[in-house]
Symmetry: C2
Subunit: 107 residues, 2 copies
Amino acid sequence: MSIETAAKQLEALGNVTRLRVYRTLVRAGDDGLPVGSLQERIGIAASTLSHHLHRLISTGLVTQERQATTLICRANYPAMHGLVGFLVDECCIDARCAPREKAAALA
Amino acid sequence: MSIETAAKQLEALGNVTRLRVYRTLVRAGDDGLPVGSLQERIGIAASTLSHHLHRLISTGLVTQERQATTLICRANYPAMHGLVGFLVDECCIDARCAPREKAAALA
DNA sequence: CCGCTGTTTCGATGCTCATGGAAATAGCGG
DNA sequence: CCGCTATTTCCATGAGCATCGAAACAGCGG
């Protein structure tokens, strides 16, 4: 994970609207959600949502799959784990936060 | 942790320069680093660094402490843990990623 | 009190983003 | 092949960001 990739993903999540979209997808699980359902739940213009989705997809945080005329969106869990891993990677080099405590702190 | 706070922190980290600053501080550990050292290591104008630091501080990700004329900067580990926790909070509601697997995935 | 080093504020510029309405496109169902 | 629904692209606008140099400020050491 390059720092540029991490920054792009963090920036993608660093917007309330996109973060809301992303969390909605995270909650939806592997079934995913159609774009239209997302739009209803979040209450923004379709064009705005499309714009944000494109951003999340281009950074690899979200995937899409076509089912007939509707597009199903899903959170990319491995990508999220990778990003979180990058953040905590160099955390706690000092003694006050031993590596073994990481899992506990994040659980 | 409100979604607005999380988004602000993610946005703060979603910039290559700021992410570099932050990671440098994370690596530095509890000793922290003076602003001047940060500037040398990262190689940007002092005014630019000051601007970015202000942003990281205002979101609570970094703290500063005065020591004579130099300002020591430190990464705020609890804040980072809180943010990461927010991200993984609703992760894996579905069966394919049981809560107990979270720690393993993030370790 | 003076000057020096470290840091911030000011000002200016160019760039990218967030947003939504309107129009275009995609692909099924008949 | 047509029309319908779902989604994207186009366009325009207002707002905020990244960057740096110059100038101002803070506080110690003498």
